[in-house]
Structures are given as structure tokens and as C-alpha cells.
Symmetry: C2
Subunit: 144 residues, 2 copies
Amino acid sequence: MPQRPFELAEFLPYRMTVAAERLSAGMARRYRDEFGISVAEWRVLVHVADAGAVSIRDIHSRVHLEKSKASRAATRLEAAGYVTKTVNETDRRLISLTLTDQGQALMQDLTQIARDYQARLDALLAPQLDALNAALDTLETQDL
Amino acid sequence: MPQRPFELAEFLPYRMTVAAERLSAGMARRYRDEFGISVAEWRVLVHVADAGAVSIRDIHSRVHLEKSKASRAATRLEAAGYVTKTVNETDRRLISLTLTDQGQALMQDLTQIARDYQARLDALLAPQLDALNAALDTLETQDL
DNA sequence: TTGACACCGTTGCATTTGCAATGAACAGTG
DNA sequence: CACTGTTCATTGCAAATGCAACGGTGTCAA
């Protein structure tokens, strides 16, 4: 008996990937041209702004960035003058990333853009917002 | 007045990206070792299995794959003996991708794996499934 | 028919990516 | 102290990626 053809358009991993790409592109479009920041750099900045002096390891575990990707993003951000890299004196294997004044100014703008974008998405998805967040909680925590 | 710190963990583009990565990894884990297929190749296979003789352009527009990525995936699938590449005789710019017998056998296995995985996800997300799909519809069609 | 233009798949190439290996630094044991 | 094993950030390197450019093909109007 021939099965109903498999529909990629209904396959959740595919749908989620496409949606995530659109969301990231929508966000990137709002800041890339003006600030020249990549997604990896954006994640590093958010975590540094939130948590203060953080190590590469922190970033790796907290914002889902490959260790080498985090390291390279931090290097670029330092070169651009947004963060400072210091050796952690209590454990000299670690580095301490800190925002410069320029980095703090950048984050003022970027977080405002992000908040606006989130508000737009919340409005767009209002009828399903709670369920969507519950679904994302499940997908984050359950074994898939 | 200092704003409440920006929470990346609540930012939808980030959450969706992380969830999509987990879903894709969960799926890939179920077929990669046994069949040695990449995500791009999987998408090409699904579309060829569903639509018959398809061109690279078809794949590009239907399953969200970069043109060059689709082309290279098709080349690898041909080398592996899963598809056949033919010049479309009515328009010689196009190619016709078709499943070989071996490719059809592969798809039997792969679609079964995908159906099982989808069933598992549906069960896991049952309470939010309808809302999740509605949200994904919105994210696919709306301007973000 | 010719010419200008658009579209197709492939490929060259610079950049990015992910993984493993490296060297430096710590922790704990004998 | 010496030794072993672990953890950290970086880097080397092969593979993947994305974009533009190319040659080949079709279309349509002059």
C-alpha cells in the first residue's frame, strides 16, 4: 500500500529551522547595516552586558555558542573596541570580558532594537504566544 | 532609570534558533550514522521523492536551500547512487533529478524515521501543537 | 535571423565553521 | 615537591558555506 507522500512542509524540524532563519534575518536586518555586528557577536554582547565579567566558557554554556565561535567573536569585538579582554587574576586560565564605554553605548541601541522587535513579534503572535513559549520550554528541556 | 536587563533567554529569535538546532540534531542523530546523509541531502531527497523529476531551481524555491547547496547536495546524492541527473529535454537549461531504486529504498527508511520522530514530537507537544503550528504559519507568511 | 536580455546549474573563491589538538594554568594525590 | 589529570582559550586545518561570475540555454521583439 502506497503511503501518503511525506510532507516536508509539515515536518517540525524543517518548519522550525525555516522560521528561526526568518526571525534571525529579520533581527539581523535591523542592526547589521548600522552596526556591523554578527549574530555570534550579538550573543556575546548580551551576555557580557548582563553578567559583567564573563569568560568564554560562560558564553559557551549560556548562549549556545561553540567555544571557538565565542572566542573569535570576542576577538572581533575587542578589535572593534566594544569589549576588553583581561586575564582573570584568580584563575589565569580564564579571561574576563567587559564592555567598554563604546560597548555600553552600542548595547543601549541594540537592546532597544531587540525590545522593539520582540514587541512586534509578541503582537503578531499574540493569540498563540503563551502556547508557543510553553512549546519552546518543552523543546529546550526534553530529550529529543 | 536603568532598564531591566535584556534577557536573551526570552528573545524569540534566539529561542527559536536553539529549538530548531535541537530538533535538527535529534533528527540527524536518527539517520546520519546509518545512512550518511546530511540535512541538505535529506531535503533534496524528500522533494525528489514527492515531486518526481525536479530541477535544482525547484528544490531551491520549495525547500529553502541555497542554489549552490542544492546543486552540491544533488551531486553527492548522484555519486552515492541515490538519484539520477538528466538534462530536461524540453528545456535544456534544467536538470531532472529522479530517485534510483536504491534512492527509493533509502526513502522508505528515512520517511519512516521522520514519521516516527514527528509522532514523538506531536505527543510531546500535544497541548500546544495547534497553537504552535498556527504560530509557525504566521512566522512563515508575515513580514518580519 | 539576429541581438539583447533573462534564467539555469555549476564552479571559483574568500570567508566561516566545527572539531581536534595545543599550550598554559589549576587541582589533587602521593 | 613532582606527577597526573582536568579545564581553559586559542589556533590549525579540512570541510562547508554563500556569493558572484561564468558558460550554456531559452525567449522575445526588432
